[in-house]
């Protein structure tokens, strides 16, 4: 049998019993290391819990997702119309060799192409090039040892594009995924019809509506959202939407007040040179807290001329510019100064993002931006 590289499951090296579970004949070198290293071992300490625990996240989640039933209903309706058009192309025989992710926690009958999966099915796998579809009564999760776990909600369609040692890529055409990623930052990417989501060490929920627009909410770490040179960084507690051909909107913390959020939405939707945009921007700046420096940092590169100067003035008042940053430099969008200013927000080190930019080709768009919809089905060549 040919041994595949990096396939831990199939390799099963011979290992001494002592190294595995301390049974069998003791290995003197391992015993010596155990004895030497014992001084670094965990020593029990009392865990001091805070007097008050924050409200359970589940209730917060319900609040945040109160609009989900309506979105889900719309998705179900549109999918009911759309799925018959997609099924013929997903019946192509899929390649059953090469890298694959485990499928678990199956509820209902998700499909890989025309193949129906069921809850009692063991060792189900999604191979590179295959598409997993859930309907309104099914869900599943994907996992990969070195990556993490991705839960796929009902009415979703995901395709596994890549599963190399350092680059793993999914395509989410429609629906919702919840990702908990433990791979190093920058290694896991999700393509959506309107942006690429790059994991920067985190857990997040990504939703794509049938019209290709999307929303991301980060619960741990941060995520980069990218399209056509337009980037948004979304740290824990923040969210960001994205639209086809436009790309990521301006991210904001979900605890910002309603006037701020509404004005930001209006600003993102308006013609930047319009009175509507100017009015909305004025409200955003007036309502911003220092925590909303996240939003103001993004607005620096999304405004021009006097509007950018206004944003800078408010931003600098809320978050003092760090050493090495000048007003003139920021107004000219000096990349190094913008990076320094981002790091001053203490939301995630931007060098992680720059490293991802250098090691990939961020100028490329998600395939769904380049291909007509009918070409999204799995291809025999993959």
């Amino acid at each position: 049998m040919t041994k595949r590289p990096n396939d831990a499951e199939n390799e099963m090296p011979r290992i001494t019993d002592y190294l595995w579970d301390r049974s069998g004949t003791p290995d003197p070198e391992i015993q010596r290391l155990e004895s030497l290293l014992a001084e670094f071992r965990h020593v029990d300490r009392t865990l001091t819990l805070p007097a008050e625990i924050a409200a359970p996240a589940r209730s917060a989640r319900v609040q945040h997702f109160s609009w989900l039933p309506r979105l889900a209903a719309a998705a179900v309706l549109l999918l009911a119309v759309a799925i018959p058009f997609f099924l013929p192309s997903t019946r192509m025989p899929a390649p059953l060799a090469g890298p694959a992710w485990n499928i678990a926690n199956i509820e209902g009958h998700p499909q890989i192409g025309a193949q129906l999966l069921s809850a009692n099915q063991s060792a189900a796998k999604l191979y590179v090039g295959q598409t997993l579809t859930t309907n309104s009564s099914s869900r599943a999760s994907l996992s990969e040892n070195d990556l993490g776990e991705i839960q796929i909600d009902p009415d979703s369609r995901v395709r596994l594009l890549q599963s190399g040692p350092h680059h793993k890529r999914l395509q989410l055409d429609v629906g919702t995924i919840h990702a908990a990623i433990w791979a190093p930052p920058g290694q896991f990417v999700v393509d959506t019809p309107s942006a690429i989501a790059i994991d920067l060490g985190c857990a997040y929920t990504l939703q794509v509506a049938p019209d290709g627009s999307g929303t991301i909410r980060t619960t741990l770490g941060w995520v980069g959202f990218h399209l056509n040179g337009r980037d948004s960084f979304i740290p824990a507690g923040a969210m960001c939407s994205t639209r086809p051909k436009v790309g990521p909107s301006t991210p904001y913390f979900e605890d910002a007040n309603a006037a701020f959020r509404e004005a930001l939405h209006n600003f993102d939707q308006a013609d930047p040179s319009s009175d509507t945009a100017a009015t909305a921007l004025a409200t955003v700046l007036a309502q911003a807290r220092s925590r909303d420096g996240l939003t103001l940092w993004h607005l620096l590169s999304r405004t021009t001329g006097p509007a950018r100067a206004q944003v800078y003035a408010r931003f600098a008042a809320l978050v003092p510019p760090p050493a090495g940053v000048t007003r003139e430099g920021i107004l000219q969008l000096d990349p190094h100064m913008l990076d320094l200013y981002w790091n001053a927000l203490d939301l995630g080190d931007i060098s992680t993002w720059r490293y991802w930019e250098q090691s990939s080709d961020p100028k490329s768009n998600p395939p769904s931006q380049l291909l007509p919809k009918k070409d999204l089905a799995p291809k025999k060549s993959q």
Binding site: L19, W20, L37, F40, T48, A57, G148, E149, A180
Partner: protein, 194 residues
């Protein structure tokens, strides 16, 4: 009335569910069961002198987020991910005190233990830990859990959410590389060729 679940004999899933409902005793038992794993994961990434405080941080970060964990059986991998992210965050915060680097830092260099080598055995212990920390990340985490924290292979698999196969491979390859590394160091000290 629900029976009390926060007993040492309670199943992991039951403890996680109880902790999700706000049962502090259940959370305390989870801490007792998983502190070694979290300690080991952190020790493989951050200086030894900071590990204890970060272990507490990890559990305090996990507590308010626990209710959002849908599948309680995923608790081990979920907690391990928080620990790894906390280590990354530690380096980010430490780095923000310095000038912005031009590249991503060399994590293995940054995670050298801050233990004053004030005796021969401590120097040896320091050197052994140093050698493990110079190994690839996957191997050093598993080896630290085994050699420092004293967990067995099956325990490591159960606690981290890794498969037995992955743990077996990491232990085998990691130990092989560690033996080679320590052998080379010993040879250089006794004047042998590398």
């Amino acid at each position: 009335m629900n029976p009390p679940v926060a007993t040492p004999a309670a199943s992991e899933d039951a403890l996680v569910r109880a902790a999700q409902r706000g049962d502090r005793a259940a959370f305390g038992l989870l801490y007792a069961r998983y502190a070694r794993m979290v300690h080991g994961i952190l020790l493989s990434r951050v200086p030894y002198s900071d590990v204890d405080d970060l272990v507490q941080d990890v559990f305090l970060q996990a507590l308010p987020r626990l209710a959002s964990l849908r599948d309680v059986s995923k608790f081990p991998g979920w907690l391990a991910a928080i620990a790894r992210n906390r280590a990354t965050d530690f380096h980010r915060r430490a780095k923000s005190l310095d000038e912005l680097p031009t590249d991503v830092p060399d994590e293995s260099a940054a995670s050298a233990p801050a233990v004053p080598p004030n005796s021969h055995s401590r120097t040896e212990a320091h050197a052994a830990l140093d050698a493990i920390l110079s190994l690839p990340e996957t191997y050093r985490e598993t080896l630290i859990l085994r050699l420092v924290e004293g967990m067995t292979g099956p325990e490591i698999a159960a606690r981290t959410g890794l498969t037995h196969g992955s743990v077996r491979v990491n232990l085998h390859r990691g130990m092989q590389q560690l033996r080679e590394l320590l052998g080379r160091k010993a040879a250089s000290l006794t004047g042998g060729e590398l």
